[in-house]
Amino acid sequence: MEHFRLFVLPFWLGAIFLLVTLLYKYISWFIGLAPDERRLFFRSLFSRSVFRSVGEVIRESLFHRKIWRTNKLLGYMHTTFALGWFLLIMVGWIETLVYFKGENVPLYVDIFFSYYVHPIFEHNFNFSLIKDALLLLLLIGVCLALFKRIRSRAMGMKRTTKHTWGDRVALSALWLIFPARLLAESMTSAVIWKFGGVVWALGEEHHLILPGIGCGSFLTNTTGEFLARVLPPDILQAGELPAWWFYSITLCAFFVALPFSRYMHIFTEIPLIFLRNAGLKSGEKVSSYDQFQTHACSRCGICIDPCQLQRDAGIVGVQSVYFLRDRRSGKLTDQVADNCLMCGRCEQACPVGIEQNKLRLNSRRERAVPVGENRYGYINGIDRSEGTGKVGYFAGCMTLLTPKILRAMERIFEASGEQVWWADKEGGVCCGRPLKLSGEIDAARRMMEYNTELFRKHGITVLVTSCPICLRVFREDYALEGIEVLHHSEYIQRLIVSGKLSPRFGGENFAYHDPCELGRGCGIYDAPREVIRSIGVLSEAKENREKALCCGASVANIAINDEGQRRIGERVAEEMVATGASAAVTACPLCKKSIARSNLIPVYDLAEVVANALPD
């Protein structure tokens, strides 16, 4: 206890509290994992995924590579806080080892090193220089953080997160830590500069420091000299210890607030990366792994700008950052859980890679009101299908409401000479995805089982649909082994490549809109583009492919009003007009309807433009 001083107490207690809380949380979440999930994790420890995880921790938790891609200043700010602070602690630790020649000293000596030892840069390896440089970097980071409060636009963010009370406490403490450290180290250096002293614990060597030299390096030495010159001697002597108290208290405040604030992400991202690389995923039901995901959200707010609900419809407080916050604090409301297009644009932008849609879905499932037993009794035994063929066509409800698409598909099938089994031309049972998206998974499953049985009964080997909503559920949730599921864009592309279909090249300029469920949902970007290129000129919207806009009519949003949908759709239509193309082409009946309603540009489904280009 040779080194114990009373002022280390706040830091010490705060650090212990933090450690115990983190361990308690992580261990209990880990125990809450399903046995096979735990097995996956343990198995991954002896595989290459560990190296991948370590690399990812360095890249993302320290360097924040993905944030650099959003904006350089924003990246710099996050890197200084994470990497800067980490290095400051590491350098301090090595320095302590060197100075105490490996002697076992308590952790607080590392943290408050300059108080105990008065390192001067004439001697030894110049740790002080490195530490001062890192401190300066961190102080610049704090300035940038302050600047971001005032002008977030300059840092690539039009909107930033509205913080909770716990976040504000932690945030204030974090911002105070580094100026407090600067003040404490400067005060010590000022006292040494004024009165002289010793370099306290260099093994047997004790170096005398004469007045007028001070300690620290370019930063703390200079500020120390400045303080020594301006402050009266008695204040200097009386002020040193309170400055260290202040530093210790800010650290304590941050550590205690951390588990209840956004800064929980600092540590949680690490186990998340390891578990994710071990193959864990969030699923249909709320699970313990979800905890790692929700707590790894740093509330950086990068998800807010891409959200079209905010940007075009003025709907705030429902974005992923707020959804995760509310879910974490147990205050999730239907308004927040349900008001989401699930377009996936935020997931695409999230620097932590949190599975936003899956989490929202399993929250919805938890909140869903179970439906009556007999509600879907009517589907038993219905079979309104017609025709025979190895190729089955499932129009889906939305295609039946946009008969031009259905007409076009009829022409395409006829022109290519394919024998087709029509699953639902005269009406059928829903694919189940809208129910699934509203959280009613058990009801959705009944539809899925019915349709699966129907497909099997008619012995098809290829299932074509022109609705990406149906496509996604067929691919993700149906057990259709032996039946190849294709979107009509892929199917038409095949027909063209194999020569069964030869549309004429007309040269018209088409702007293509990527439907969410087709693009981000199923990863189909090229097939529709190839088809368009075979009949005309393709124009791209400013935000396309993975970053494409949502049309606003998504069946996933069960809370939005019509006006909001209209405004989002109109924005997409404006983007289509801005390409200079003469018409917009999309590959989803819902997108077609919602872009068309603004009346700004003619909108066609891919099948329509292909059918129109077929020779009579």
Partner: protein, 338 residues
């Protein structure tokens, strides 16, 4: 020098406004984009609720215009109103000076193609009320292959009170139009069954409710409360419709020979151009917003711009003609003050 007023639009409201202005001793010029006067009335056969031939009204108005010596410029379109009504610019680039402008540019018909689920211009036997008027004028209602329809379904509120196509307003006159046409079909083909799908029947004018009652009691037209959700074409080119009868709470499906979409009134596309002029504001529906709904229904916030007819809201023919008179008197008073 005598004052000159420009009337934009030579429909019923515009014609009457011009005639009244001349009666008050003010020169007026009608600028009409089509090749003749009459507006939408030119396409109509008979008028509700009296079944008066449209020509009777149209010819009388044209006569008045001719007698009063109003200058008429047809096939001529105004592109913009300038200087708060002291000038208009034409599509050909020339401009005309004026002392005041009466905007009587009317409405557009809702394009039924936007409700793709009803199959207009996709299926052979889906028509609009406008198509039906043409058939009445050209010798009778027939399906595409020339047969007399055995069953006809009317669907009310296509492009009215429908958020999904940005048409929240009620177009008012389509309810009674649907009733009139249903009766006309029955008069022409008494054996044809006529169904009419509605959400509300709004019989606001004199004699309208009486006609509606007649349609039910005398002509045995079936009114079903519920909207058609979708339509599809059968192999023999008939139309299969799905709807819900909300009074008995059951879904229904039927096949008809002909589906008639009762299209609503959409704000005139030119309203956006007028709104570029100071003093002209639009409602969210894009209809022009008059200065005061109670005390200034034909006035704008600009001293020299006045409104008449359906440019401000859906109206019937009588109301539009009356507004022509009202607007002319307001113009005359304003010009006298100056």
């Amino acid at each position: 020098m005598s004052k000159k007023v420009i009337i934009i639009g030579g429909g019923v409201a515009g014609m009457q406004a011009a005639v009244t202005l001349e009666e008050l001793g003010i020169r007026s010029v009608i600028i009409e984009k089509e090749d003749g006067l009459g507006g939408k009335l030119r396409r109509w056969d008979r008028l509700f609720p009296t079944m008066t031939p449209a020509e009777e009204v149209l010819d009388e108005l044209k006569d008045r215009v001719q007698r009063s010596g109003v200058e008429v410029m047809t096939s001529c379109e105004v592109s913009e109103i300038g200087c708060e009504g002291r000038m208009v610019t034409l599509k050909d680039g020339s401009s005309l000076e004026s002392d005041a402008v009466v905007v009587a540019s009317g409405f557009d018909l809702f394009p039924a193609e936007l409700k793709e689920e009803y199959g207009y211009k996709i299926y052979d036997n889906v028509f609009t009320t406008v198509d039906l008027e043409r058939m009445f004028r050209n010798g009778g209602v027939r399906t595409v292959d020339g047969r007399i329809p055995k069953t006809v379904a009317f669907l009310h509120c296509v492009g009215s009170r429908d958020e999904k196509v940005n048409q929240r307003h009620c177009s008012r006159v389509c309810c009674i139009t649907g009733v009139k046409q249903a009766i006309e079909i029955k008069q022409e083909h008494p054996d044809t069954e006529v169904y009419s799908f509605y959400m509300d029947m709004r019989m606001f004018g004199p004699g309208y409710e009486e006609l509606y009652r007649q349609a039910q009691q005398e002509f045995n037209i079936h009114f079903v409360r519920g909207r058609i959700s979708e339509a599809s074409q059968t192999i023999d080119h008939r139309i299969q419709i799905k709807a819900e009868d909300t009074l008995i709470g059951l879904p229904l499906k039927m096949t008809v020979d002909m589906l008639v979409l009762i299209v609503g009134m959409k704000a005139g596309e030119s309203n956006l151009r007028w709104s570029r002029c100071q003093g002209v504001d639009l409602y969210p529906s894009s209809f022009v917003k008059p200065k005061n709904l109670f005390l200034g229904g034909v006035e704008s916030d600009s001293k020299h711009i006045f409104y008449a007819g359906t440019v401000t809201a859906p109206k019937n023919i009588g109301e539009s003609i009356d507004e022509g008179i009202a607007a002319a008197h307001r113009v005359a008073q304003r010009l006298k003050e100056e």
